[in-house]
Amino acid sequence: MADPSGFLKVERREREYDKREARVQSYREFTRPLPYTEVTRQASRCMDCGIPFCHTGCPVNNLIPDWNNLVYREQWRTALETLHSTNNFPEFTGRICPAPCEASCTLNIDDNPVTIKTIECQIVDRGWEEGWIQPQLPAQASGKNIAVVGSGPAGLACAQQLARAGHGVTVFEKHDRIGGLLRYGIPDFKMEKHIIDRRMRQMEAEGVTFRTGVEVGAGVPVAMLLQDYDALVMSGGAELPRDLDVESRALSGIHFAMDFLIQQNKRVAGDPEERAAPAGTISAKGKHVIVIGGGDTGSDCIGTANRHGAASITQLEILPKPPEKENKALTWPDWPLKLRTSSSQEEGSERDWSVLTRRAIGANGKIEALECVRVEWVKGADGRQQMREIPDSAFQLKTDLVLLAMGFLGPHLGGLVEQSAVALDSRGNVKASVADYKTSVQKIFACGDMRRGQSLVVWAIREGRQCARAVDAFLMGASELPR
């Protein structure tokens, strides 16, 4: 254990952000690392619980107390090894994970969890800086080949694990760059993209082949992969966005969040505008922007819109405003529903809850306003919460850009899914259990959002790792890959 009474002596301190004014001028990351001495102090707050709730609070089961202790003792390199033993990409999660581990931290009973995410991020960042992170070559090749379709965090984690087990792995990506949502969903100010690139280089050195711009199920038929590879992993994400099913949806100026975010990411990556936005530029500059949907994608839209120089940004959420503080007694160590304010929201936006969009209003085919109504949520006969419109509560919001960030319904059903003919579950995701990640089709596995529906990066990594183990076991009879 770090220091038995560290938590009583040291105050929680998090990484700091650049000032709001500065950060909206740039797409660079604005989170500033803590000095290493402070990180070790923060690590001393970890109590090394008899039951580390953070272990299971964290979807990849990071061995948090262990590396906290190592950081406290300044054994950074061993800490890095321990961290990597459960998480292939701590530099991703250390930046963009909402950190359910901190919610489940014992010190969060008192609202002062250990700064787990910060420590995680600084361990891995230091590892890159020091050159400790090198390709890990397998002892021997298995002679088996696996196709991984989709290069988001699930696919990447799966590919890396499989390569390390000695398999030949090819990752297929329909976009021009590797990374899936990591690359194009998450704005650079949250995570700069060279971070993905250096991981990719490591993976290439470990023997992973990346094939970008190849859409399996379109350019490359699934059958061909099944012929060429010993196994196929479907990790194509849950890309199908929930649409706004209202009158005048067709008006211009209403876009899916992803369309907006992808082009900006490409722009930042240095693509010329025609490549970044082949379907036309979506700009928020000088506009009154409404973001529908209160989740992380919504926040990314806000941050990006602010950087475009939007005139105003309003974010609407259909669910009621969550409580400022959760009922700890009944939620801890679970992820609590409570009011959170993201850094993007902080940068400037209005938020409104329990608001339903009733119709779009426009002129000349262009959006001008949204008509909304207030709703309330009541328990229905089946015990579930049901939404009810509040009579006479309709109002209009002036807007010239509406971004839809209302979540994702599941994988696109054409192409890959259709060709592979895998069975789907009741929610439209590819059906496979976490016991073996096997789809209904022989040799085909599925993991990540494609299997579980939209979720966190950290869940994707978990699924990728576990799926790799399942594939390895399938191919070799048994697997020594860690779960």
Partner: protein, 1546 residues
Amino acid sequence: MSGLPAKQGLYDPRNEHDSCGVGFVANIKGEKSHGIITQGLQILLSLDHRGAVGADPLVGDGAGCLIQIPDALLRDWAKGAGVTLPQPGHYAVAMCFLPTEAKARDITVKQFERFIKNEGQILIGWRDVPTDPTGLGKIVLEQMPLIRQAIIAHGPQVKDQDTFERKLLAIRKQTQNPLVALAKKHKLPGIAKFYIPSFSTRTVVYKGLLLAPDVGRFYLDLQNPLTKSAIALVHQRFSTNTFPSWRLAHPYRFIAHNGEINTHRGNVNWMNARRRTMESDLLGPDLDKMWPLIPHGQSDTASLDNALELLMAGGYPLAHAVMMLIPEAWAGNKHMDASRRAFYEYHAALLEPWDGPASIAFTDGRQIGATLDRNGLRPARFIVTDDDLVIMASEAGVLPIPDEKIVRKWRLQPGKMLLIDLEEGRIIEDEEIKRTLSDAKPYDEWLKKTQFKLEELDLPDEQAVAANDAAALLDRQQAFGYTQEDIQFFLEPMSEQGDDPVGSMGTDTPLAVLSNKSRLLYNYFKQNFAQVTNPPIDSIREELVMSLVSMIGPRPNLYGRRAGVHKRLEVSQPVLTNADLEKIRGIETVLDGAFRTTTIDITWDASEGAAGLERAVERVCSDATNAVLLDANILILSDRAVSPDRIAIPALLATAAVHHHLVRLGLRMQTGLVLETGEAREVHHFCALAGYGAEAINPYLAFETLEQIRVQSGLSLKPHDVQKNYIKAINKGLLKVMAKMGISTYHSYCGAQIFDAVGLSSSFVEKYFTGTATMIEGIGIKEIAEECVRRHRDAYGDNPIYRNMLDVGGDYAYRLRGEDHAWTPESVSALQHAVRGNLPDEYRQFATSVNDQSERLLTLRGLMQFKFAEKPIPLADVEPAADIVKRFATGAMSFGSISREAHTMLAVAMNRIGGRSNTGEGGEESDRYVPLANGDSMRSRIKQVASGRFGVTTEYLVNADDLQIKMAQGAKPGEGGQLPGYKVDKNIARVRHATPGVGLISPPPHHDIYSIEDLAQLIRDLKCANSQARISVKLVSEVGVGTVAAGVAKCRADHVTISGFEGGTGASPLTSLTHAGSPWEIGLAETQQTLVLNGLRGRIAVQVDGGIRTGRDVAIGALLGADEFGFSTAPLIASGCIMMRKCHLNTCPVGIATQDPVLRQRFTGQPEHVINYFFFVAEELREIMAKLGVRTLKEMIGRVDKLDMVRALSHWKAKGVDLSRLLHMVEPKPGVAIHHCEAQNHNLHTQLDHDLIKAATPAIESGQPVRLERRIRNVDRTVGAMLSGEVARRHGHAGLPEDTIVVRFEGTAGQSFGAFLARGVSLELTGDSNDYVGKGLSGGRVVVRQPKPTKREPTENIIVGNTVLYGAIAGEAYFEGVAGERFAVRNSGAVAVVEGTGDHGCEYMTGGVVAVLGLTGRNFAAGMSGGIAYVYDVDSKFESRCNQAMVRLEKVDLAQPDDDSGAPRQRSLSVSDSGMGDPLGFDAQRLRILVERHLLHTGSARARYLLENWDASLPRFVKVMPTDYAKALAELNREKKSGARAVAAE
């Protein structure tokens, strides 16, 4: 063992224990008289209360009497029988218990007569022993043998009496040894019943399954005036069973024993291992006829008797033989003279000690004597009269001898001997016997010539170079199953601090056999520990009796042929460094080749896989045999060869296999067994290896790992220091584990097999761990091999997790990829959400995660299933939850270990639902005895009495519904509790009557319970103090616990708790947490079976605890036999505990296990949470009850037939588990209950106090002073407690004004005189008293003074027994004479003056003042952390007798400060202020007051002398001042002063 039921279910007759009262009377001059016999029988009567009766009050446990051969009586018989009796000494009497069945009898008699003839002796005739069976119980008569004596004359070949005696032994052995086989052959079980209680030319034993008063009545010989003897040795037995057995009564042929031999199993093994090395000139070829020398399956006393007779037959004089068997603590004893130490040291190589509490009275008919074990754990008092009588007994006052005839009153001291030589007609003092024997041979010189200490051997030590290749080290660590926890929790802290590491909460991981992981073989062995029938030893505070010296190499011939030439090699402790081991390897080149070492490889070829192990073990055994036959006499078993191609045999398996193999071949004594292993690292490993025969162990990989740790973590220590610290830690741990079982020396622990196997198949155990108990079957060599292979594969395979890192472990904390736990993040949060939100669904989720073990096995009960009724009954018909929860209790968690908030909340919750909460051992604030305004009560209904007796005042006792004697605790059986100083805040200190900031430790044993009859005494004491309370005894599950529970029932306890090893704790060595004790399922089942077999079940309530979590657990507990249920961890979790496992650090982040005021504020637990939890449990239980078709819990209790076992077929290890012995249903005899439904008879009506209370009513009711005078005898026990209970009920701890009730006694008081005396009650005794005077003194005054005038010098004669003022809280005591051992042990506030003490005076004292006006024994002030003592240093050697680990010795401060606010007063001010003032100063004044008070109360001549010569006397006093106490007091004074200044400034 005739009379005992056969092994069935979990019951095994070999677990039976007994203990008792013993005594003798002897005429020093050897003058025979019938009067001696009458007096002997009278002693027996006075010791009656030390025995016990069983289920049937007419059935005692046995009693008997040994006397010299009554020649006149036999001559009278011979005349009548028409035979000629030779002269005395030329004939022998065989006392025979013959089978009643004629056919069997004929065969045995013929057999006997045949051997008499074969051996050339002459049978004169058979004499019917006249008996009168009137008044004996039915069962007694049913079991009664035919009692006859065979009279035998010696044949012409026999030259002298001793030769004749040896022939008798040969005859007896040859007759007796084959009886069992013979019985089988003839199919006549009666044959095995033939038994020869005595067979001698000098003595005869009259004994039987008799109550004390019956012995004389039954044996008419004893009434016959022709029966004359100069000695009468008597014994009253108290056994743990109620099975009638005639032969188990004492005395045996040479001894009567009070106590228990803990190393019995090993001793018998070692004796039998001597087959090939024993030769005797005296016995010659007869020795070969006597095998087995000591048959298996006898009682410890019978075995000891056998050993003694063998030694004597081999020519050792009686006293010499006794000294060999039960040596005093000689190692490191600086007070012992060199020649005596040489005697013991020399003999240590010949024979391993028979270790354990023992007061042995012995006689061969020419000499009679007694000795006490090295610890002095049994009482033995003796007096010498002016007409040449010596009377020795477990108690003083057993014969009414007028005081003026008594010239000496003394006691047997630890390790000392009393010997009366009837032929010489004198008492030979300990000093003289031992000097004579020590000087008889040049032991010193022999040792100088032959003894070599490894440490001192000058051999080129080719230090094996530690491998620097980290990768190779990692591989080897993995091959031996190292985990990260081994490093983090064991090696690292051990290397830094040199201590066996401490943890908290319980263990909730699966048993090794249920685990999916590959576990080391050590994990299948659970350490045994002493409870009730013998005490654990205090290895830290009473270190002087402990020794880790180990002898490596062959043992000399026990019979000492060619004495003084046999070379011997010793190590001071058994953990060898690499250099040490190399010395042993190269030893042949020195010491004239006396030692030859052979190293045997204990690895096998990996290519053979798992199948290779069994062959490999065979190969190792045969290598060992060959080596020994080729004259190698030290074997090193080594697994150094482990590599990618070689798998290591588990070191424990290799050791035990070789050990037992060589024992069987009779070769074991010819060789030493040393281990070179990479496997051993934690304390438990070393214990197990030692327990199965390793004489020394080199843990080379542990050393390499330590070096790696040292380098990696940048420790400032040198390699040598790290190793030293580690060895120190292992040594401390070893001592603790040995001590836990009551064993003091490594020498006797080695090979003693003090373990139970859990989860090993009996065929495997029988083959390699012969004699070890295993109850639930389990894995065998195949699975063990598989585990080895898995480890090996992890080490040398490609598994990426293990590429750079060790396995996480996860045993001591929950870890991903680690071992499974019952308490997981999910189960904890589900339970907490359930109870906080009153959410049944969440509870169900919790219960399912614990109960459903189809995926992951956790507990034995996970392998059980219910046999549900075909038709369930409606839930509504099942007894309501509100009734069920009344059977629930929360566990003993002390106020101190947990916060006031948590402690009171649990009490309130339990009181609301009619359940019970338990104080734990930390007292209770008296404000909690008063109900709150809202009707709630914070009073804990169960009050615990543990070995520290913290806060156990009379007021505390009377405010209890249950008084629980904590014999052991699941988390750390055999060890005392500990509360670190930083948890002792002012409040805690006040309640515990201790000093803030000073850590508190409870002794491992209750110092008033060293034996079963002591427990009966404490039960009586408590029952007297509060007759309305149930008395409960808490035991921990281990093999044999059922037998102990039966004993507890016979001690008249109302309640017994069986705890599982999973139970929690605030702080415990990790070794104990995981490796001691067994699951409650086993202990409970054994308890139920044994109690039912004994017909005792109905009169005692049985509670189970230690890991009960759900309604299903309760249901299984009930079916296995529990009436009540204890829960600790689960309700704590319901209150907010999150299994931080940091209780011992005071940093509990949820405010439970902490006294930090900041953290305490974080406590959020509410009574409702706990109540919700218990109701959820009860509701879950009700659903099961409905399915079982039972309406009330009562109908369920003991119905094992409603349980079935599930074979875990898919589990590679658990599939071998077989619970059928556990689920065995003992068919109760008609009328015998299987659940609690009767009341115990406490026999309190004879209590002297009834009369006192009546007479003192005016005092109790209206404070009128009362003066009473009474006579008192040793059978009047616990006088004053009941009276004080009455006072405390009315007046609380404050009591009455001083001297309101004064009772003056004359005579000898029984045990516990003045126990729990309340303030206002004064007992003054003229005469003397037995053990435990002033136990728990709570403000009263006890005075014991000499009758005046007396011839005896008070400072040289004993006046009060052992363990006086144990746990005293307040009050005063004055003793005009010497006290026994452990005077004022755990005194926390009483003031006492005494004129001399035995060993261990003021041990564990935390408060109060003691003045000793005479000599003290050794080890004074051990563990003394508070209070002060003054010792009048008569011989200026006190310093050498004082244990100065925690105290410093100061001169008496003569100054009289100006500020007299801290000055002592002549009278005490209140119950909480004895008037002794500020202990830091005022010494001269305080001492003067003490001596004046002493003179006033006793009229002591010593006091008068001191006062008359005050100025000269004062400087001879030494002040004993605990260092931490002085610091804490100075701190408090500073605070007080600054507080006063602050007030003044305002």
